[in-house]
Symmetry: C2
């Protein structure tokens, strides 16, 4: 397989963007990325789009062709492919784009991710999100997506003595980071007490433990490494992109305080990259709920199992800590337009590795990790990127 | 890129399968394909699933992880990725699986396609199908999927003198083929007059000009060519798999009597394969409406533009004709469970190339073509397969 680089990035603001449609968002992010790579439209060989549920959110399937069309790429009749794996849709689209270049099939590929969630009511939006879980064996019995994560949180507290405060601290930290990100949905710091006192969604998780409903899009341009330097002076190498699955329903697993998919994908990515978690300076991890980040930083190997809460409370995942986690604000503060999220993680990592992250810059960042999860861990993808 | 072979195939019957759920269908097709390839579950490196709209048909997204789970593959935590491009979902999943093996990333990949359409009412099913078109600029103004194809038919009749009878003959031929396929939804021959007199859906197209709503699934196993013969004595080589896009809405195109996406994908596939349309003995083409097959056999290069209707009436696309088109019965008679269709096309081609197609066998078949379309041609994928 050929070496592949990221040579362009672009993203919209995340939030309740009522004046922008799905196609507006996808087009904007794509054009920003293409401009960043200094490409002409005719240089692009293929498009991949991560999207979870445009069929239900905006009653439109076939959205990769749609984005190609509205970006002017249909004129060149390039392949346009949508990838879906619930919350991991963007991360998987990134991996398919990577494969398309690594294989030698295409030289330059744009990977986009987009979701327009706020055109439907909150109750229906929650129903759509829950369709990432097993609708036949979980959702039909009343288990919503927050409820499933609440069970995970309870069990983690029971097994490892993780405290409510430690879980809440994830939100405090990610809001602190989000306050430094002009593209974040929430650019405001919050107190621990705000999280603890917030209205309960599914105990012990309150409103401030949950990522918001968001509109938004992100895009990256991938290129074979041998051509990358003709487009940019700062190519970022994709060292590995590994993906794993697990059962869709939580009840079929031997443990719900680890995501095996994350563990397997991370192990494989580190093996391919010949690196260890200790080599990573920054990571964007899938904090759709506060508890999810605690599982992630343990399952990725940054901290021993059961120590994620303590590490968070001790500031080890903060900017300036052992490993800077979710410098973008994460899903919690940067926002979570589902299909966009996995691609937005790559955008943040690349910005950091280029040294262009402004007030939230991680000094001397050389190796970054992106971790994107679908459902309650039925899908996970872990990508490692480094300064080329 | 490495050479890739199909080493296993499997498919369910297509039809109104009320006693089988989506997961049942996906699992059945997958197990048939895996057994056909004489694989053990632990040999499988990755799964790709083509599916258009499980989110709306059965309110379940994340269906690749679902199928991996119910097939027992989640135990090995293999990557599972869903691909969507409306009617071309299955064909694109096949192409992504092909890329995953060709790149060297994976050695053995299962590609499945599935759709469960009959759990919703017919009106809603039609609405879901129409979401393959541009919902903002076509569907909202009342253009359903059949209506868009009716416009294409009218224009083809106007430009080329194609007759209503020639268009109807596509259904007659495909029902004749379907009568020879024990997996087909309709295994009954029909008369030309039956098509002509059938209730109008969108003039000039009647009920018998439209592919049915179907449940079903299909699966194939892909393997690097160098290992293929350790699994099967009859590997089938994937010579090329090419994909192209066009505008989502018909009104943005200079012509609606050709699908440029089909033309571009076919030209590219033939170029990569160093073959011409004259080398092809059999083709599965996307006849979601009768008129679609006429466009397809012209755009693929089997007949000059405007001559597709006449060629059909002259029997040139029948079993025994110049090129046997849709020996499976096509979408019209074999059925069209949307996400399954593109994969079922590959299953039919492989059966034919192995010489295992029974009463519908094309003698001395060496090169077969599969042509899968999304929307009104906004996506097309053309794959060429040959006896290895």
């Amino acid at each position: 397989m050929r070496e592949v680089a990221v040579i362009g990035i672009g993203d919209t603001k995340f939030g309740e963007l009522w004046d922008l449609s799905f196609r507006d968002l996808g087009m904007q992010a794509g054009l920003l990325a293409v401009n960043d790579a200094k490409l002409a439209a005719e240089d692009i060989d293929a498009l991949y789009v991560g999207n979870m549920s445009a069929g239900r959110f905006i009653e439109q399937e076939h959205v990769a062709a749609l984005i190609a069309d509205y970006s002017g790429l249909a004129r060149d009749n390039i392949p346009a492919t949508r990838i879906e794996a619930a919350g991991a849709s963007g991360g998987l689209a990134f991996r398919e784009g990577y494969l398309a270049v690594a294989s030698g099939m295409h030289d330059i590929v744009v990977v986009g991710g987009a979701e327009k969630m706020t055109d439907v009511g909150d109750v229906f939006a929650n129903e759509i999100q829950s369709s990432a879980a097993d609708t036949q064996w979980e959702v039909v019995f009343g288990a919503t997506f927050p409820a499933l994560h609440a069970m995970i949180a309870r069990r983690h507290m029971h097994e490892f003595g993780t405290t409510r405060e430690q879980i809440a601290q994830v939100a405090v930290k990610n809001h602190k980071h989000g306050a430094l990100n002009p593209k974040a949905q929430f650019q405001r710091e919050i107190e621990l007490s705000t999280v603890l006192k917030s209205p309960q969604v599914a105990e012990p998780l309150g409103v401030f433990d949950c990522a918001p409903l968001s509109d938004g899009a992100a895009a990256v341009v991938l290129c074979s490494m041998d051509k990358a330097r003709s487009y940019t002076t700062k190519p970022v190498r994709i060292v590995a992109s590994s993906q794993a699955s697990d059962t869709l329903a939580l009840h079929a697993r031997s443990s719900i305080t680890s995501f095996k998919s994350t563990q397997v994908a991370a192990r494989e990515a580190f093996r391919l990259a010949r690196k260890t978690p200790a080599d990573v300076q920054l990571a964007e991890v899938h904090d759709n709920f506060t508890i999810s980040e605690i599982l992630a930083i343990e399952d990725l190997g940054f901290f021993p199992k059961g120590q994620g809460g303590k590490a968070t409370m001790d500031g080890e995942t903060m900017l300036g800590g052992k490993v800077a986690v979710n410098t973008s604000g994460g899903l919690k503060a940067r926002g979570d337009p589902i299909g966009a999220t996995g691609v937005a993680q790559i955008v943040e990592i690349v910005q950091q590795l280029r040294g262009e992250a402004g007030r939230r810059q991680v000094p001397d960042a050389l190796l970054g990790l992106a971790h994107n999860v679908g459902g309650t861990g039925a899908t996970a993808v872990v990508s490692l990127l480094e300064v080329a």
